[in-house]
């Protein structure tokens, strides 16, 4: 069931669009912000709030790569593997992260701290390699500098 906060935040979003379903993506983002990922229950809750069927909502939830339909850790690392980062040295960062965290793409550390995902170009190609953790963009990332970055996310 939606919490009062979730319900009121979704209503604010619905007001921005001519139809309730227009706010579907925003509503899913609201719930994800509170629950970290979108469970079957979350999909049902949003469907009920927007007068859509759960299947319709699930179609949207499974389409967008920043809507997480599986559990994720407290912090999500989005590592750019698009062409500019690929050329400049994405591979070194990928290998360093894999070694440091003991996880591959799509996996979460045992302590639930980090989930690692590949990500399309983050639009900071003049400072490749680039990754994002939660809302923060990290530029000119080096394998040696990773530890200092990761320390900031408990």
């Amino acid at each position: 069931m939606l919490s009062d906060t979730e319900r009121s935040e979704i209503e604010d979003e619905v007001a921005q669009y001519p139809t309730p379903r227009g706010a579907c993506i925003e509503a899913l983002k609201v719930v994800q912000r509170h629950r970290r990922w979108l469970s079957d229950e979350a999909v049902h809750d949003v469907a009920e709030a927007l007068a859509m069927t759960p299947d319709e909502v699930d179609g949207v939830a499974t389409f967008y790569n920043l809507l997480f339909r599986q559990p994720v850790g407290r912090h999500v690392i989005l590592l750019c593997d698009s062409v500019s980062c690929w050329i400049v040295g994405y591979r070194r960062i990928y290998e360093a992260l894999r070694e440091r965290l003991g996880i591959d793409f799509g996996e979460t550390t045992d302590d639930d701290r980090f989930t690692l995902l590949p990500m399309a170009c983050l639009g900071a190609c003049d400072h490749a390699p680039v990754l994002m953790i939660d809302e923060d963009t990290h530029r000119d990332v080096t394998p040696d500098g990773l530890e200092t970055i990761l320390e900031r996310y408990e």
Binding site: Y17, Y64, L66, L67, S82, S84, I87, G89, G123, D126
Partner: protein
């Protein structure tokens, strides 16, 4: 190359050097919103359209469609100019203007620069464009990754609302415009015009069949113009200084400047506003400082991941829409990606096609099934399992996924670099197959750069 005396940078000259965004007071001090004031007081929507048409502004999002012509397809019978017609007809409702700020073309980072540095320039461009087509509702469709840009834009919108530059009766003119920010939840497909409209309506971002075109039936079935951020940022300058000036600051038959970018192993990666039609040589060698020590240029993608490779023999080609088309590629977003001599072109192709395969929306079969096949074939070649017939197989895909076989331009864009790579880097592909592996592997182990073929994604 002869240097033109006139080098103007209308889009970027106001961006503060200290990296802070220009606020409303600063923007106004520099002459901002004067074009809007003039247009609302003295020009009809058709006058604004005509100026944009005369300026020869072409879309900066990749396709290069003439902006003024696009606007002229919007019905101007008055039914959409208010907050909605009240005749009760099925088509009642507002017209829409959408700024495409979903900058997801790999290698592209120019719209970020404009939004983070001078947000009011985009807002003024949007208000003018909305006025020109009679739209009363506007959206910025912003990619999720641009967190700073979102904050900066929201602050600028609040400032503009406060100052009577947005909302009802803008500057006392009787013109109304509501402006919303929609933050995307990801997917390259959202940058495609009709995919973007579906995303804005809260649906999966699959493409729509055309016709009808969005200019006639777009968002919620209403006339809609979708325009790239850089394109919209040009509009206030065209209105303020006129089409003739706009054409004069270009080095090509199309008007205006272009924000060119360079990424890859160059000395100074970055973005610069230069006359449209500046040569790739000037951009890569002068502004980006050329390749890093010991490296040579092997090829470059002129305007993002979905453009055909060009090589050193094309360095003097003016980077404008028609000149780049003439040599078999596209200007695209104008942000170049440099492939250097230490970089395995086959590996680069694995990375490129992995991106496209992952981002395919799955709507049409050639794209959904073809791209993973292409990626796997390339991975096999890179890993040393390639066979001679694989190259014919890849060539077949460049035809099957080409223009005319799919709903949208994702698949044709995906195989543009592949088709050209098979020509330009033919020997490299053949060496991989003959040697049963990547000739760059030992060098890669030394420098640690680039991904190999077998990385799971």
């Amino acid at each position: 190359m002869t240097q033109r005396p006139l080098t103007e940078r209308p889009l970027t000259e106001r961006i503060p050097a200290d990296g802070t965004p220009l606020d409303l007071a600063g923007y106004r001090e520099a002459g901002g919103y004067e074009a809007l004031r003039t247009a609302l007081a003295d020009l009809s929507p058709q006058d604004v359209q005509q100026k944009v048409k005369d300026s020869k502004l072409r879309g900066r999002g990749g396709a290069g469609f003439p902006t003024g012509m696009k606007w002229s397809f919007v019905p101007m019978d008055g039914s959409g100019s208010g907050s909605g017609s009240d005749d009760g007809s099925a088509s009642a409702g507002p017209k829409y203007l959408v700024a495409n700020a979903d900058e997801m073309e790999p290698g592209t980072f120019k719209d970020r620069l404009l939004m983070e540095g001078d947000p009011h320039q985009l807002l003024e461009g949007m208000i003018l464009a909305a006025y020109a087509i009679g739209a009363s509702q506007a959206y910025v469709f912003l990619r999720w990754a641009y967190r700073e840009a979102e904050q900066i834009l929201r602050r600028a919108i609040a400032e503009a609302e406060e100052a009577g530059l947005l909302g009802e009766n803008i500057l006392g003119s009787g013109f109304d415009l509501d402006l919303h920010v929609h933050v995307s939840a990801g997917r390259y497909m959202c940058g495609e015009e009709t995919g973007l409209l579906n995303a804005l309506e809260g649906r999966r971002a699959t493409p729509r069949a055309k016709p009808p075109y969005p200019q006639v039936s777009g968002l919620w079935g209403r006339p809609t113009i979708v325009q790239n951020v850089e394109t919209l940022c040009n509009v206030p300058h065209i209105v303020a200084r006129g089409p003739e000036w706009f054409k004069a600051i270009s080095n090509s038959t199309d008007g205006g400047t272009k924000i060119y970018g360079v990424s890859g192993k160059v000395r100074r990666p970055g973005a610069w506003e230069l006359p449209l039609g500046t040569s790739a040589r000037e951009v890569i060698e002068e502004h980006a400082g050329g390749l890093k020590d010991g490296l040579e240029l092997r090829g470059f993608l002129p305007g993002g991941a979905s453009t055909d490779f060009l090589t050193s023999e094309h360095l003097d080609v003016p980077m404008d829409f028609d000149s780049v088309s003439k040599v078999g590629s596209r200007l695209g977003t104008g942000t170049m990606i440099v492939v250097d001599s230490a970089c395995c072109p086959v590996s680069v192709m694995v990375g490129l096609e992995r991106f496209f395969a992952r981002e395919s929306c799955g709507w049409c079969t050639p794209c959904r099934d073809g791209l993973p096949w292409v990626e796997k074939t390339l991975m096999a070649i890179e890993a040393g399992f390639g066979r001679k017939e694989d190259l014919e197989h890849l060539e077949m895909h460049t035809r099957l996924l080409g223009p005319g076989h799919t709903f949208c331009a994702l698949a044709p864009g995906a195989i543009a670099p592949l088709g050209s790579a098979l020509e330009v880097f033919r020997e490299e592909f053949e060496r991989h197959i003959e040697q049963g592996g990547c000739p760059y592997e030992s060098a890669r182990a030394r420098t640690g750069s680039q991904a190999g073929g077998g990385v799971p994604a």
